[in-house]
């Protein structure tokens, strides 16, 4: 009992009941049956949500220009993702060029917002890579803001190593995981995303 992690302070009736049950576990003479557990509930993390188009083809509100599509964005900025060095959130020259092009496009489409999403490789701890991904997204936001994109149009988030682009532990696979993605999320004031 000396390593029992909880139950020493009865914070509510339930805990107290638990400790009594635990005591019964020790006192075989109690002969209390094991509690019949109801089936575990399912937490539907996806619902309720409006039906959404595939993220890669997000339908945007009619823009100032009618080419405000992810495809157009990708064409213009060459690519919607940038890559980082290992365990680094510094923008490479190539990443800066890509972000400059993204900034230009975003300036042309002032009603489009973007989610800047940092990812990391599998070669660090889960928690460290989560923090690293956010650091990368923050670096992207800083660069875009310096190129005149309003900060409120840019949200940052991190997936760490939890949504890899490639699974292999080889360097080529992991290189592709050290990335920052710019995901267009429509215009301000528009619900649905």
């Amino acid at each position: 009992m000396r390593h029992k992690p909880s139950g020493t302070s009865p914070i509510n009736g339930h805990l107290l009941r638990l400790s009594i049950l635990a005591l019964c576990g020790v006192l075989a003479a109690c002969q209390r049956p094991t509690q019949m557990l109801p089936p575990a509930p399912i937490f539907d993390m996806g619902a309720p949500q409006p039906p959404q188009p595939e993220r890669s083809q997000a339908v945007l509100r009619p823009s100032l220009r009618d080419d405000a599509t992810t495809a157009d964005f990708d064409r213009f900025a060459q690519i919607s993702r940038i890559y980082f060095e290992r365990n680094s959130a510094s923008l490479t020259d190539e990443a800066r060029r890509t972000l400059d092009a993204q900034a230009e496009w975003l300036r042309e489409h002032p009603d489009v917002r973007a989610s800047l999403q940092g990812h990391a490789d599998a070669l660090g701890t889960r928690e460290h890579q989560l923090a690293l991904g956010e650091r990368r997204a923050a670096a992207m936001k800083f660069h875009l803001a310096a190129r005149g994109i309003e900060a409120e149009r840019l949200t940052i988030t991190s997936f760490g190593k939890q949504r890899p682009a490639a699974l292999g532990l080889d360097e080529a696979s992991q290189k592709s995981n050290r990335r920052g993605e710019t995901v267009l999320i429509g215009a301000p004031g528009v619900s649905g995303h």
């Binding site: 009992m1 000396r2 390593h3 029992k4 992690p5 909880s6 139950g7 914070i11 339930h14 805990l15 635990a22 576990g25 020790v26 006192l27 075989a28 003479a29 002969q31 209390r32 049956p33 094991t34 509690q35 019949m36 557990l37 089936p39 509930p41 399912i42 937490f43 539907d44 993390m45 996806g46 619902a47 989610s115 999403q117 599998a122 660090g124 701890t125 889960r126 928690e127 460290h128 989560l130 923090a131 690293l132 956010e134 650091r135 923050a138 949200t155 988030t157 991190s158 997936f159 939890q162 949504r163 890899p164 682009a165 490639a166 699974l167 292999g168 532990l169 080889d170 696979s173 995303h193």
Partner: protein
């Protein structure tokens, strides 16, 4: 039967009288993590099939196999094989077991009990002393028949080591759906040996970093909704899920405090990650660290007074310990490589961590003052350690080179007794529960 009952109650009282450990012949000394295994016989005791539990065959035999699997997985016992199968009503004769070299003998007798339940009488004999050292009459619903064996193994483990057994426990893990880059995840809860797996979440969203509350009824995890991560506390009994109101930023790495009243977590914003605690009843949030760099992965000491965490404030990830209010931060990990994902043992004598060196991740343990460091796993990519409530085993995630999906493993503290937990599909980021009610 009547004599047997009285004897089991007496033995049970004896067990209560000396709760800590057997100092006699059945004591397993594991002070240094290295034990000479206790020779133990766990014969099959036939009971016939049990109504309401199809596909199991002879219930008594099935239970004895689970007791064996449980105890052998701990790395502290050596199974002594003895020919033949006992009948449930057969008198136990110790001589054959003594001749085979068994010091301990576990006899489990299964029978149907009232209300369609299963009664399992579990007895631990000191073979040379010729007496019953511990016994329990375990009652479970037939649906949870496997728990009878786990509880029996817990009794044996607890008597022989002085630590609570970790066999009647649950694991949480993260299972992957789909293929990169559109990979989602869902949470699965399972018995510690992989049986009775149930999915707790669904949807193509991403969930991550689950942890049990000390009461096991509640869990906390990270959930991405529209790319924005939130911390969710879910009650497995009521099905109620509550999103924690955390400050702006990306919250992650949540863990309950040992009293279950608050959740400590990391929050990263604008490239800086710090550690916070939120009191669940009031919702009040307190910032515990304020250094530049990534402070992440907090884990409470079992008495709740200290927190170990990971920080790269020195340039590389290292482990730090601080008081629960954030004061007195000091680095405890030194030596080659980087250290992360710390987890404080329920026994309070060790901290498990992920060690990173030359692109390789392995599980290690050290004392809370940083001394006695040692690496206990040897995979290409072993991470996310989570303690058993006994403090004698660690669950972790293993990924082999070559792009395979991650799987769950359990190791003892020597690293000699390691086995894979059977899961359906991939499994990562395990969280091991405390004692089940």
């Amino acid at each position: 039967m009547k004599r047997l009952d009285r004897r089991s109650i007496l033995a049970c009282l004896a067990l209560i009288g000396t709760p800590a450990a057997a100092q006699g012949p059945l004591h397993v000394d594991i002070t240094q993590g290295v034990a000479s295994p206790l020779p133990i016989a766990i014969p099959e005791v036939s009971s016939g099939p049990l109504a309401g539990v199809p596909d199991v065959g002879d219930m008594g035999v099935a239970l004895s196999h689970i007791v064996r699997d449980d105890l052998l997985s701990a790395g502290l016992y050596r199974l002594v094989a003895v020919e033949g199968r006992l009948a449930a009503d057969q008198e136990v004769v110790l001589a054959p077991f003594m001749r085979a070299g068994a010091q301990a003998l576990v006899i489990g007798r299964a029978q149907a009990a009232e209300d369609g339940r299963l009664a399992y009488e579990c007895l631990l004999y000191d073979v040379f002393g010729g007496k019953v050292e511990a016994s329990q009459r375990i009652l479970v619903s037939t649906a949870q028949w496997r728990r009878a064996a786990h509880k029996c193994a817990d009794m044996v483990f607890s008597f022989t080591t002085g630590d609570p057994g970790h066999f009647d426990t649950r694991l949480l893990y993260v299972a992957e759906d789909g293929q990169p880059p559109d990979q989602g995840t869902h949470l699965v809860a399972t018995d510690y040996d992989g049986a009775n797996a149930t999915s707790l979440t669904r949807g193509l969203q991403l969930v991550a970093m689950p942890a049990f509350a000390p009461d096991i009824r509640r869990i906390v995890f990270m959930s991405y909704q529209d790319a924005q991560p939130k911390l969710v506390v879910a009650d497995l009994d009521s099905g109620q899920a509550t999103t924690l109101n955390t400050p702006d930023g990306v919250p992650f790495a949540p863990r309950f405090s040992p009293d279950g009243r608050s959740v400590v977590f990391a929050l990263t914003r604008g490239g800086d990650s710090d550690i916070y605690a939120i009191e669940l009843a009031s919702g009040s949030v307190r910032q515990l660290t304020n250094e530049a760099g990534a402070d992440t992965s907090p884990s409470y000491s079992p008495d709740g007074t200290s927190i170990v965490f990971e920080s790269d404030r020195s340039g590389e990830q290292q482990l730090y310990v601080m008081a629960a209010n954030g004061s007195g931060q000091r680095r405890i990990s030194f030596g080659a490589g980087a250290y992360g994902s710390p987890s404080w043992s329920p026994r309070d004598d060790m901290i498990a961590y992920t060690h990173i060196e030359s692109g390789r991740l392995r599980i290690g343990v050290m004392k809370p003052d940083g001394s006695g460091r040692r690496i206990i796993t040897n995979g290409a990519h072993d991470e996310d350690p989570s303690w058993a409530l006994s403090g004698r085993a660690i669950a972790f995630q293993r990924t082999t080179a070559g792009g395979s999906r991650p799987s769950l493993w359990i190791t003892d503290l020597t690293g000699k007794a390691q086995h894979q937990v059977r899961t359906q599909g991939s499994a990562s980021d395990p969280a091991w529960s405390g004692k089940r009610p």
